[in-house]
Each structure stands twice: as C-alpha cells, then as structure tokens.
Symmetry: C2
Subunit: 343 residues, 2 copies
C-alpha cells in the first residue's frame, strides 16, 4: 500500500546502469565517470532518494545508533541526555533513549531489546534499584562498547564521565559550616548508590576539616523522593538532636525537607539552613529560595557522547578514560544568615 521510497535499483533501471555503479556514485567512491556520476546524483536528488538505513546497517553490521539507558528523565538526567544528543548529532549518530523507571527488570528488558542489532553500543546510567551487574557483564563478554555516566557501575570496566560528588558534598557542607550552622544533618540517598556515598563522604570530610564531630544520628538514608524526605525531616526536627541545618543530596529531597520545616514553623534560614543538590530551576522561585550544588549536566552528557563516539570510531575500548567534573555551589536565601536577606 505504501508508495515505496526509491532505491538504488530504481535509479539504476531508469539510467540503464547497474546498481553497483549507482552505489559507487552515491557513496563518492572511485571508478566512475564524472558524467555518469553527475546524472546519477541528479536523478537521486529528483527522486528524493534516501538510503535505506536498515539495509545499510544489516550489511555493514553497524547502526550508527547509540542506546542510552537512564533510570528516569528528571531535570538533571534529561539535561545530560540533551548533551549526549548534541554530541551524537554532530557525529551523525542517532540516539535511542530508554527509561528504566528505576526498575531493574525494565533495565534488563530494554537492554536486551536494543541489543538485537539496533544499537552499536550503550551510554548508561544505572537505576537505583540495580544491585547486580550481570546484564551489563553480558555486554563486556560480547564486547559491546559502552560508556557509563552520572551513576557509575562499580567493578565494571568502561570509560566514565561523572561528577565529583565528594567535592559536591564537601562544598555544600563547608558552606553551611561557614554560615555558622553547628549541627548539620544530611539526607543521604539510598545506601546502594555510589553517588549517595560519595556525597556523604564529602560531608564527613568537611566536618572533619572544621573539627566538628561526626554524629551518625544526623545521617538519614532515604529514597530519592520528596515524600520520604518530608517524613525523615519531620522526624529529625522533633528528635532530641534537632539539627540547625540540613544538606540533602537532591533538590526533590530539599523541597520535601522545606515543607516539613515550614510545617514545623521554623524560620529559614535563621533557625535552620538548607542546601540541596542539582540546582533545578524552580529552586529560585521558592521563598526562601533554596541553595543548591550545581552540576554541569549538559557537559557531562556531551562528554560521555563524545568519548563513546571517539572510542567507537577508533575501535578502542580498552583504554578507559575517566573524566570527573567539578560541581559549583549556588548560594541562595535558604542558607545565608550572616548578611541581610536579599529582596
């Protein structure tokens, strides 16, 4: 039923040439008379010829497509994906994105699915539920190239592009200390996740540097989730060891914490300070506006894309690059009590 798109065969028949000749002309290969070539290109243009990518991929065993596997598409990750997109576009690659929805099962299914000759390799950020690497080990065994970013996979050999999460935890905590907060709690993420632990490490490091005793009752592990953060904060605030500042390792959690703080009627930043992580745009709109650790998401994605493509084209995935980018603290009202509050 479809009005089928033209193929090189159509062109060949119309010009009374062989498909080989047409193919050479369109590929800019040699062995061809300039005149012949010109007429072929002309006709191809007229017919609006586009090569069939399926046939090409099948023949060349290469799809020029990158599979991107992410746990979700929140603000940070979707920005990273845009970065990957840009790198891919520049190199003539296509990107297919699959959300695992933080589910291990879907991560496996999606990987398998894309593996059926649809992609040349993967760029991966694991789901928070993912504890095993088995399904990625398959990639290694079959020598399918991949690069990891954002959330890396422990014990898995591959190039990686990540944030210096420890540094992020450190600058946030040190900032709170410098603002005179004494009892700083941290809402850390799930213990299974590397980024959680790194940010927690940074927190510890800052405390140590400023001779503040580490108190594990001020450390709450909870899901990357506004609600959990809300309840965790409520509990913290009514405990004996009520903190005078909270550092949350995501902005969603910061918002949950802020709601709990407001409900309790505490003044921010006077009575309690707050710093989040990711610097989502809406943070500036809250009142008080919320300080946060910003990460160069777009760059992380773009770099991951570039590294993948570079290694793919050179067919060299044995040299593992490890890029670590630095975060930046964006200071807003929620954590500044030394100076007068701005407008």
């Amino acid at each position: 039923m479809h009005n089928k798109p033209p193929t090189i065969k159509d062109i060949a028949q119309r010009l009374h040439l062989s498909i080989s000749t047409v193919s050479r002309a369109l590929r800019n290969a040699g062995d061809i008379n300039p005149e012949t070539k010109k007429s072929i290109l002309q006709l191809a243009e007229d017919l609006n010829y586009q090569p069939n990518r399926l046939a090409l991929s099948l023949r060349q065993n290469q799809t020029n497509t990158i599979g991107v596997i992410v746990p979700n598409l929140d603000y940070v990750i979707s920005t990273m994906v845009k970065g990957i997109d840009e790198a891919a576009l520049e190199a003539g690659f296509t990107v297919i994105v699959c959300q695992s929805n933080e589910s291990f099962g879907r991560e496996v299914v999606n990987t398998r699915r894309m593996l059926n000759s649809l992609v040349d390799g993967f760029i991966i950020s694991i789901s928070s539920e993912t504890k095993s690497n088995e399904h990625f080990k398959v990639l290694s065994e079959r020598e399918i190239p991949f690069v990891v970013f954002d959330r890396v996979i422990p014990d898995l050999l591959a190039s990686s592009v990540i944030l210096d999460n420890e540094e992020g935890g450190f600058i946030a905590t040190e900032h709170l200390i410098e603002q005179g907060y004494k009892k700083i709690a941290i809402l850390a993420g799930p213990q299974t996740l590397g980024i959680s632990n790194s940010r927690l490490e940074g927190y510890k490091k800052a405390l140590k540097k400023h001779d503040i005793k580490y108190d594990d009752e001020l450390v709450i592990y909870c899901d990357f989730n506004q609600e959990f953060a809300f309840y965790a904060t409520e509990e913290l605030l009514s405990s004996k060891k009520r903190p005078d500042a909270i550092f949350t390792i995501s902005d969603r959690m910061a918002i949950g914490a802020m709601l709990a703080i407001k409900k309790k009627g505490l003044k921010m930043p006077e009575e309690i300070g707050l710093v989040g992580f990711n610097n989502e745009p809406s943070l500036a709109l809250f009142s008080p506006s919320i300080s946060s650790v910003e990460q160069p998401s777009f760059e992380i994605g773009k770099l991951a894309g570039k590294i993948f493509i570079e290694q793919f084209l050179n067919n060299d995935f044995s040299n593992h690059k490890e890029v670590i980018l630095k975060p930046k603290l964006v200071i807003r009202e929620s954590s500044v009590r030394m100076t007068r509050k701005g407008n």
Copy 2:
C-alpha cells in the same frame, strides 16, 4: 572483533538442518516435526538466540517502531510519552522519541531521518514554531500512517487525541468568576498555536455566560515561558486596568505571574487570584499553592498509542478517529477567597 550473536544459520548448522526449518520452528509456523521443533527451541534457548531485528524489518518492510515527535519534554509531554510507551510495550512496539526543541528545522530533519526505514509511522505533537504542514504532507503523500496528539495540525487528515482545551479555559475562568473576581486577565500563549486559541475561547465563553464584558486589553499573548509571563504580568499590574485575577494557560506562566505578583506585594488570593494549566506537581508546594487545570496526560498518550497501533494493524488510516478528553480543575489556595485559607 565482536563475539557475534547467534543466527538461525548457526542453529541450523549445529543441528544439521536447513535454515528454513529452523525459521519455521522459531516462528511457530507449521510443517514441522514436534521433536525437531523441540530441539531447535532448546538450542535457541541455550544460545540465547534473539532474532536480528534489522533483517526482520528489512525483509518484512515493517519495523514495529513508532516515531514520536514532540516539541520538548516538559512535565505534561513526558507524561504523555510515558503513556505512548506503555501502549507500545503492550503491543510489542518500540518507541523512538525526538525532541524538536520547538524548532521547525529540527522537526523536519528528525522526521526525514526517521523516515529512512526506521519507523512504521509517527505520533506527533507539533512545535509551536511550526506554521507550515509541508513536511507532514509528505507523510500523507507517501501514505505513511500517523496520529497527532496534544497540539494538532490544522487541515491535516489524521486521527487525533486531544484535550478539550476550550472546556479547560472555561472551567478555570468560571471558577474565578464564582470566587468573586471581576476583572480576569488571561495570559494566552502564542497566537499561532491551536491550544492557545481554544483556551482563550473557553475564557470568552465563561465571561459571556456570566455577563462579564470581554476586554481585549486583559488578553496578553506571550510565549510559553516563565520570563515572558513575568514581564507581561508586571505590565498588567501597573496598568490602569489592573486585573484582580489572572488565568495563565500554562503552569510555567503561572509561576512567572506569581513572581511578579509577589514582587508587587499583592496578597494572593485576597487581592488577586491565579489559576494555571497542566497541574504540575510542584504547584502544590508553592505558597500559596496554585490552582490549575489538570489534563489526563498519560491517558492522552496511551490512547494515541493505542489508536496508532490499532489502525496500523488493521491497515486502516482512512477512518479518522477524533478523541477529545476532558480536563479537571484542581483548586488550591491561589484562587479561593471565599473560605478561610487552609494550613
């Protein structure tokens, strides 16, 4: 270099059978001895055989993939895409998403690109910049099936799934009227976009029903954009005809308006009411929380997916279905001045 995945040929050789027989076994076709079939399936399982989708698609001229073209991936649209995803998954289809970033050029490029035998058809929501249909007319000419959703394409014949935007504008406006607001302004979107106009129509309809005179100085056309809304609201508030309520046709715009209102020092909802559109989750967190028109985004996406697949499988795209779903008003603090403000 790749440890190449097994093919039916490998299976055939190992069992001393022909590829035809193996193919039949795996496809559950007839003409096969149960014993033979069993051994083939067993070996396929052991080798973790997965059919090569490229070859399949090339052979069958069908990819089981749907191209989804969207202007961006904001909250509403990404929810819709999740709906499409679910419908596709249930039917064994794969989804490829391309953001046009509200750019006409990228929309065209992406469409062309996916058209090169990568997708069976499209599910489309146009970019706000898109004025011409030319690149989609190509689809019609080549009889490539597509379904439109959310933002429809005027004068283009296809099934569609959309929100009753007029109704949305109507219930938001009527709500404000019932709350006693008299001079209600509207921040409408770009005039080129159908959904803007429909919501504006609803607004007019509500005014008319309640015998309020329509005043076009209270209608501001501006981009779907927080900043534009901010400046537009500032202007509105300092004009002679200062409104006592504002209806914005997106939540982003509502947030912009709210910032301008706060800056001006007006009390909400007492001195000025506000209703947004889309019901993004963060609205509940602002103070005051913001009322908004909710749309069944997930259902819209899922329906669009289902309709596409159904029509595709029946090979019937001549009967154009038109589904229109109803919005729902979510009332929060920003627009309620009759009763006492909640906690």
